[in-house]
């Protein structure tokens, strides 16, 4: 048995007006939580749909649990669990019924009670689906993705639109899934989610993987692992002339100047002195370590949620 849950080479998908996926390579190891990170329209969902067998790839190689769609379609379906971006059920089906119904589609299925317990929906087991909150519906969708005791689980933006508390409880379930030894592939456009959940991740934009690795690796890949921030009251002023003077680029983002640097210790005195002389009306100075957000900004030239 290969130690890869998923192996993809040169995956491509052309839609009428856009090359949605432009040659993607991915390796996902068994037992890890792998994140596909990128802004809306980066090609994450199309990539996932091709892996799940919902969309046919134009070209490329794909091995899922050592199987491929051409020869082993029903076996793949039996061994993967999928949570789509939105899961629509009948208004008047109960979580218990939905899990039993979908469990019946598979050769082996976990019991509804066990799954309800796992996603903490036991007290809503017999309530109509329509009466569940957004977070409860997402947890039910997650339970449905686990109904066949899958080895590989796909979660497409599992926490989009949820409040912080509901996100935390969903994260807890994802960690539990991992601890059961399953492989999880999820997409997200939340940096904190990727850092909190993923063992490894790939950053996608314009249908391509820009970089991949563990969160720590990605950050350390940056030549400029620290960021000095100057905050302003209201919008930050233009920074070109000051950047030239300082001899290092400044990113203006909202009410901040962000100055990535390999060496904040040398930069800071010069920066503060220059700011004093040129009467830059900043409020506060803050030095922090670079995050995935900075990796993304650095790789794509834009912020993740623009």
């Amino acid at each position: 048995m290969s130690d890869l849950a998923l192996r993809i080479r040169g995956l491509k998908k052309q839609y009428p007006n856009v090359l949605a996926v432009a040659g993607v390579d991915l390796d996902v190891k068994r037992g890890e939580v792998f994140g596909l990170l990128g802004p809306n329209g980066a090609g994450k969902t199309t990539t996932l749909e091709m892996i799940e067998g919902l969309t046919e790839a134009d070209s490329g190689e794909m091995e899922i649990l050592g199987l491929n769609w051409k020869q082993n379609a029903s076996e793949i379906r039996a061994r993967i669990g999928v949570q789509l971006q939105s899961t629509s059920l009948f208004n008047k089906i109960t979580p218990r019924e939905a899990l039993t119904l979908y469990g019946g589609y598979y050769p082996k299925a976990r019991t509804a009670d066990e799954l309800l317990e796992l996603v903490q929906l036991t007290d809503k087991a017999d309530a109509y689906h329509i009466t569940l909150s957004g977070g409860q519906m997402q947890r039910l969708a997650l339970a449905m993705a686990l109904v066949n005791d899958p080895e590989l689980v796909f979660l497409d933006e599992p926490t989009t639109g949820l409040d912080p508390q509901a996100r935390q409880s969903l994260w807890a379930v994802v960690r539990k899934i991992k601890s059961e030894g399953r492989t999880v592939i999820l997409t997200t456009h939340y940096m904190d989610e990727a850092e909190a959940l993923c063992d490894r991740l790939a950053i996608m934009d314009h249908g391509q993987v820009l970089t991949s690795g563990t969160p720590a690796e990605l950050i350390s890949q940056l030549a400029l692992p620290s960021v000095v921030e100057l905050s302003f009251e209201g919008r930050a002023p233009a920074a070109e002339s000051f950047a030239t003077l300082l001899g290092t680029p400044i990113d203006v983002r909202g009410d901040l100047w962000e100055i990535p640097t390999p060496d904040p210790k040398t930069l800071l005195p010069r920066l503060l002195e220059g700011a004093e002389t040129h009467e830059i009306p900043y409020q506060q100075v803050h030095v922090r370590r670079a995050t995935l957000e900075d990796v993304f900004l650095h790789k794509t030239g834009r912020s993740l949620r623009e």
Binding site: G53, L54, R77, S86, F90, E97, M144
Partner: protein, 352 residues
């Protein structure tokens, strides 16, 4: 086994949908009861005429009233003030009032169809009463009775309406319970969710089709039972032929639902497309009334839509006990629609 579970689940969820249950089972029966009772009996409906009572009845008044009795009119005798208040409320279609040696007749412009007809009857009665007053004998009147045209044994409106409602049921089943539902499943991603499971899709669709078929069967049986118990309507023809016609109609409208659903991406688009077929068929295909009074081209045009020939064949069997030999062309049209829609559905049906 999988199919049976799918079918049972369809029924379980359906039985929780009160609104759907009402429209499917109760509504057709209420329609039959309502209209059947309103137009009960074989007599012509009485045309009501308000007669404003004069302080003193003249011979010409007596003569007119006596003649009116020969016509299918219902005389409502009121004092001038009562008549005035009834008129001002708009409830009177025709009001007649003796003035000196003549009469004055008012026709309600809002009830123009009923009013005109009544006014003509009154005019005739007036002419006859005039000639009687001059000593001539009462002319013979042509006896009038209300019957359903071309339906030898149908005795009342309920018997005409019942097959119409059976046709309506099939059409709603196909266009809404099949077509609309599948568009919304596709739109909301229910099909996609199924597509990632190993369930063969045909089992899902077949479970759905079986559910709709049993619903239609129960609907039909309910209507037949109520028609028989309340209005004494019986199938005049063979149950075999009735089944044949119903099966052809069911297949046609079900295929139409699947075919139409492939032309719409959203429920809104589907509603617009299906209404283009639904409303012309509902009003122009003889569900509630015959189109004998409509222009010839319109009658011929609606024959091209499947509901009209389907209902003609159904009524021939159900109301007249006829064979289907004279309806082969009509049933042929139904079969052609079925084949066309089925072909389109197979070719175009999309899961996502």
């Amino acid at each position: 086994m999988l199919l049976w579970r799918q079918f049972a689940m369809e029924w379980k969820l359906y039985s929780r949908d009160r609104a759907a249950m009402f429209w499917t089972f109760a509504f057709p029966i209420l329609m039959l009861l309502g209209f059947g009772v309103i137009f009960r009996g074989g007599d012509a409906p009485r045309l009501s005429v308000v007669w404003v009572k004069p302080s003193q009845m003249a011979p010409k008044d007596e003569a007119l009233l006596k003649t009116l009795e020969q016509f299918p009119t219902k005389l409502i005798t009121l004092s001038p003030s009562e008549a005035e208040s009834r008129w001002s409320k708009g409830e009177t279609a025709v009001q007649i009032e003796p003035i000196n040696d003549s009469f004055r007749m008012k026709v309600n412009s809002y009830l123009v169809a009923q009013g005109q007809m009544t006014a003509q009857v009154v005019q005739q009665a007036f002419l006859i009463s005039q000639s009687q007053l001059q000593g001539q004998p009462m002319p013979k009147l042509i006896p009038v009775s209300m019957e359903s045209p071309g339906h030898a044994k149908a005795t009342n409106y309920a018997a005409f309406l019942l097959p119409g409602l059976l046709g309506m049921n099939l059409m709603s089943m196909g266009l809404f319970a099949v077509g609309m539902v599948n568009v919304s499943y596709r739109e909301k991603g229910k099909f996609r969710r199924l597509a990632v499971t190993p369930l063969p899709k045909w089992i899902f669709l077949l479970g759905q089709v079986m559910h709709r078929l049993t619903v239609t069967l129960i609907q039909t049986i309910f209507l037949l039972i109520v028609g028989r118990l309340v209005f004494g309507i019986e199938n005049q023809g063979s149950y075999l032929l009735l089944t044949v016609v119903m099966v052809l109609g069911t297949a046609c409208f079900m295929a139409m639902g699947f075919a139409l659903s492939s032309f719409a991406d959203t429920s809104e688009t589907y509603a617009a497309i299906s209404n283009l077929l639904f409303f012309p068929m509902m009003f122009l295909s003889g569900v509630y009334f015959t189109l004998d009074a409509a222009p010839k081209w319109l009658q011929q045009a609606v024959i091209a839509l499947p509901l009209s020939p389907f209902l003609k064949a159904l009524r021939a069997v159900f109301n007249d006990g006829a064979a289907l030999t004279t309806h082969l062309l009509g049933l042929g049209i139904v079969v052609i629609w079925t084949a066309l829609c089925f072909g389109l559905a197979v070719k175009r049906f999309r899961w996502a």
